[in-house]
């Protein structure tokens, strides 16, 4: 039934009469058959349009004039061959405005046009009322062939309904596929299907991803799948697939797949054969699930379990697991050792056998109570009172135990860890005893003792210390003790202490410590590093004695020595002066008198008397000379009048001349205003050294050096003699070396002797040129 552009419309002047009556008969026939069709269609589709079209259709001849048609704007349909009007489509609503009517009629014909299905149905007549364009409604009944439009409309509606249903189905399918793919991705499972007849393989997206293959590539044939499996795995898989095709059995294998990046994956492969209608060879479909991660976790779990088992087996602590009824379900080797029985002997028996009777009730109660709590583990016995356990031989021993609670399934499991602490308790007891003994010893010792920890802080002092300082232990601990040390001595002491502490080496030092009466006393402190049994440094222990008296005695002894020496020197100087100033002068005068007297005999012949007087004069002069030498020896007047340089030079000359030993005397850079005490002591040292050379060394050459450098004067006397062992020399040579040492100590100097048998001797004395000893101008 052609419409649209194909519709041939008669012009507006075409009279209704020309709608030839010849075709009326045909139309009647058509309508009759179409009526049946429409009725069937209406009933079938249950369309909402049904009431509209359910009006009775009457087979009556109707004429509709062209004007009328144009005025109401109804659609006209012509027979293509006869050009007869086949139908005028006019809805039944009289109140409908012609414009609306026309629009509706055309929109219906438009949508019908595309389907083309309307042609399958013959036209049908409609009963309607017409409303003219001038507003009048005529009661004409129009027989038309509008039935086709209704049918078409219905068909369009049905088609639309079908189309929508298909769309919904497609959408639902798409969602299902998406869900399936997501599920595969999440479960790391890929699926495949293989038609052995065509070798056609279909992979799911997840399978591409799982094997690391680009989804754009064509699925590989079944044989080509082999490159994604290890040879061994592939062999197993093909065997199972063959079996499945033959017998229809499903299969499940755990295989090693190879990812395209070369890594190995552990996979579970499942599959089955599917029989398809009218196909002799079934298709095979299957899934591949990547379980590498799970495998890894399982492996870790296994390892952890093994490790745990190893720990349980090798631990020194007894581990016993008991169930709710206190029956032993686990008993490790250490437990066998500690309790003296085998694991198989105790399995299933009550743990009470290892608990002394008096504790059993309490233990049960505790275990029960512990099971009730949500706490997973705790120390047994509260860590305060020692617990006891019972060996199979009936002996009791002290233990330390902890318990933990595990729920497996519906079962409670209590893990009890037990440690035999008898050895430790014994050691602790011994240590306590030893500490007690030490404390007693320290407190009763008449010396001051202190102890510091590895942090350097004092952690203990003995009773004597507290008695001495008159302070409490709390005042002395840490760094409190430093308050008692003399402020002038503290920095030096701390330096020594810190240095020795870091070097972990013993030290001995002196300082002043305030006694309880406020007096500072000199203390000799000997510190020794302490080490633990494992060799670790633990701190220091120090022992102090009051050396004030000793120090004073030593000082007074030194003072006495100095005074003695000084008195000695003074006495010698006095005698020397006496000899020089008095006797020598008088002798000089006597000699002069004799000489003058001799001159009175100058003339005349009393040569005899004159000769005698000359002899007297000579004798007197010689005595004067000897006296002067004696005086010089007693106290070197040169030192006083000419200074140390001249005195030492003179000494060397005199020595060389007297002993016929070559002496090299080097005197350099001596200050002119050298203190007389220093001069005298250095001179005496040189004198004593030279005396030793003549007495002991058998030297041929002596070198005397007297130099001043860097604020000190240095005297060095060295010889090429036989030398001696220093210790022997010190003991065997009387006061020689000792007195030299003492002399130098008096002026704050230092004395040293180096000698070896046959290698000569070297004596060295140094004196600092401090303000105290330098003479002020």
């Amino acid at each position: 039934l052609p419409h649209g552009p194909g519709v041939k419309r008669k012009n507006a002047n075409h009279p209704i009469e020309e709608c030839n009556t010849a075709s009326t008969t045909n139309l009647r026939l058509l309508l009759a058959s179409n009526h049946r069709h429409l009725a069937i269609a209406l009933i079938w589709c249950l369309s909402p349009l049904a009431p509209l079209n359910a009006n009775p259709i009457e087979s009556r001849q109707t004429r509709i004039g062209g004007d009328v048609v144009d005025q109401v704007g109804v659609g006209r349909i012509f027979d293509q061959e006869t050009n007869a009007v086949l139908t005028e489509i006019i809805p039944q609503f009289p109140q409908t405005q012609p414009d609306n009517l026309r629009r509706e009629a055309f929109s219906r014909s438009e949508s019908t046009e595309s389907s083309g299905l309307a042609s399958l149905l013959p036209p049908i007549s409609l009963l309607s009322y017409l409303q003219y364009s001038n507003g009048e409604t005529s009661g004409w009944k129009i027989f038309a062939l509008g039935g086709a439009v209704v049918i078409e409309t219905l068909l369009i509606f049905l088609l639309l309904r079908g189309h929508r249903a298909r769309k919904r189905a497609q959408e639902s399918l798409r969602l299902k596929e998406l869900e399936l793919s997501e599920a595969q991705r999440l479960s790391q499972t890929g699926s495949w299907r293989w038609d052995p007849r065509t070798d056609h393989v279909v992979w799911s997206d997840a399978l591409y991803k799982l094997l690391g293959v680009d989804p754009a590539t064509r699925p590989l044939s079944f044989q080509q799948l082999s490159k994604f499996f290890t040879p061994e795995s592939w062999k197993q898989l093909t065997a199972k697939v063959d079996c499945a095709i033959r017998t229809g059995e499903t299969y499940e294998l755990r295989l090693n797949a190879l990812h395209s990046d070369g890594s190995s994956r552990s996979v579970i492969v499942r599959g089955e054969a599917v029989c398809v209608a009218n196909r002799s060879i079934p298709q095979v479909r299957g899934t591949i699930q990547d379980v590498s991660a799970r495998e890894q976790i399982e492996q870790q779990l296994r390892e952890n379990q093994q490790r745990l088992m190893a720990i349980v087996a090798s631990t020194m602590d007894a581990i016993i697991a008991v169930d709710d009824e206190q029956r032993i379900v686990e008993f490790n080797p250490a437990a066998e050792n500690i309790f003296g029985c085998k694991s198989h002997e105790v399995m299933g028996s009550s743990i009470d056998r290892f608990i002394p009777e008096r504790f059993q009730a309490a233990h049960r109660h505790h275990i029960h109570g512990f099971g009730e709590t949500k706490v997973t583990s705790r120390l047994m016995g509260g860590g305060l009172k020692p617990l006891s356990a019972l060996r199979t031989d009936g002996t009791e021993f002290p233990i330390e135990a902890s318990i933990s609670h595990v729920v497996t399934g519906n079962r409670n499991l209590f893990m009890v860890m037990i440690r035999d602490i008898s050895a430790r308790l014994h050691a602790e007891e011994a240590l306590r005893e030893s500490e007690k003994r030490f404390r007693l010893m320290a407190d009763s010792a008449p010396v001051l003792m202190w102890m510091s920890g590895h942090d350097g802080l004092v952690c203990d002092v003995n009773r004597e210390w507290l008695r001495f300082t008159g302070r409490t232990i709390d005042q002395e601990l840490g760094e409190g003790w430093t308050e008692g040390v003399h402020p002038n001595d503290l920095p030096t002491y701390l330096r020594t202490y810190k240095y020795s502490f870091n070097a972990k080496q013993r030290f001995s030092t002196e300082y002043r410590l305030r006694r309880h009466d406020g007096h500072y006393r000199w203390i000799l402190d000997n510190g020794v590093p302490r080490f633990r049994e494992d060799g670790n440094f633990a701190g220091f222990i120090g022992c102090c004695i009051d050396i004030t008296e000793q120090k004073a005695a030593k000082a007074s002894q030194a003072q006495l020595g100095a005074r003695l020496m000084q008195a000695h020197e003074e006495e010698r100087a006095r005698i020397a002066r006496e000899l020089h100033d008095d006797i020598n002068q008088r002798l000089a005068l006597l000699a002069n008198g004799i000489q003058e007297f001799e001159q009175t005999y100058a003339s005349g012949d009393r040569a005899n008397e004159r000769g005698q007087l000359h002899a007297f004069w000579q004798e007197t002069s010689e005595i004067a000379g000897d006296l002067q030498r004696l005086s010089h020896q007693l106290h070197p007047s040169k030192l006083h009048y000419l200074g140390l340089s001249a005195a030492v030079r003179g000494l060397c000359q005199e020595f060389s001349k007297l002993n016929r030993i070559e002496v090299e005397c080097i005197v350099r850079d001596l200050p002119s205003d050298l203190d007389e005490n220093i001069s005298l002591n250095l001179f005496r040292t040189a004198q004593e050294s030279l005396r030793n050379v003549t007495k002991h060394s058998h030297a041929h050459f002596v070198k005397v050096e007297l130099t001043s450098k860097a604020g000190e004067i240095r005297l060095r006397v060295s010889d090429d003699g036989v030398g001696f062992q220093y210790e022997q020399g010190k003991n065997g040579r009387g006061l020689g070396l000792v007195s030299m040492q003492e002399r130098l100590k008096l002026v704050g100097g230092h004395f040293s002797v180096w000698s070896r048998p046959s290698l000569g001797t070297q004596v060295e004395a140094t004196v600092p040129l401090t303000a105290r000893y330098a003479r002020t101008a």
């Binding site: 000699a591 002069s621 009048y641 003179g650």
Partner: protein
Amino acid sequence: VLKADVLLADDNPAMLDHVSNLLRTDNHYNVVGALNNGADVLREYERLRPDVIVLDISMDMLSGIDVAHHLRNEGCRAKIVFLTVHEDFDFLNAAMGAGGSAYVVKSRLSTDLIPAINAALSNKLFVSPNLLYT
């Protein structure tokens, strides 16, 4: 006759007397002072203006050598003759180094002092011979 003014210094009174007498018996010398210590010499020499100063070495407080050093430092032009018991070369060196013109040992006082003073006055040096030959 123009007498030379001589200033004596010795801490031994007997020696001082002896030397004074010796010089007074000689008409060529005028003893302007006889002092018993070195410090007095430094105080008096400016006032007494001696031509010759006879100095003992061994004096308390200030030795003859120290006095000579001071005199020379203060620009004193008087001749200095040392008269001492020290028959020792080191003393001789020190004395002459301090500006002495003559060095006489006391045991040869009567024979050597006058020649020594005279030598000094005529700008010559004099040393007791026994010291030179030892």
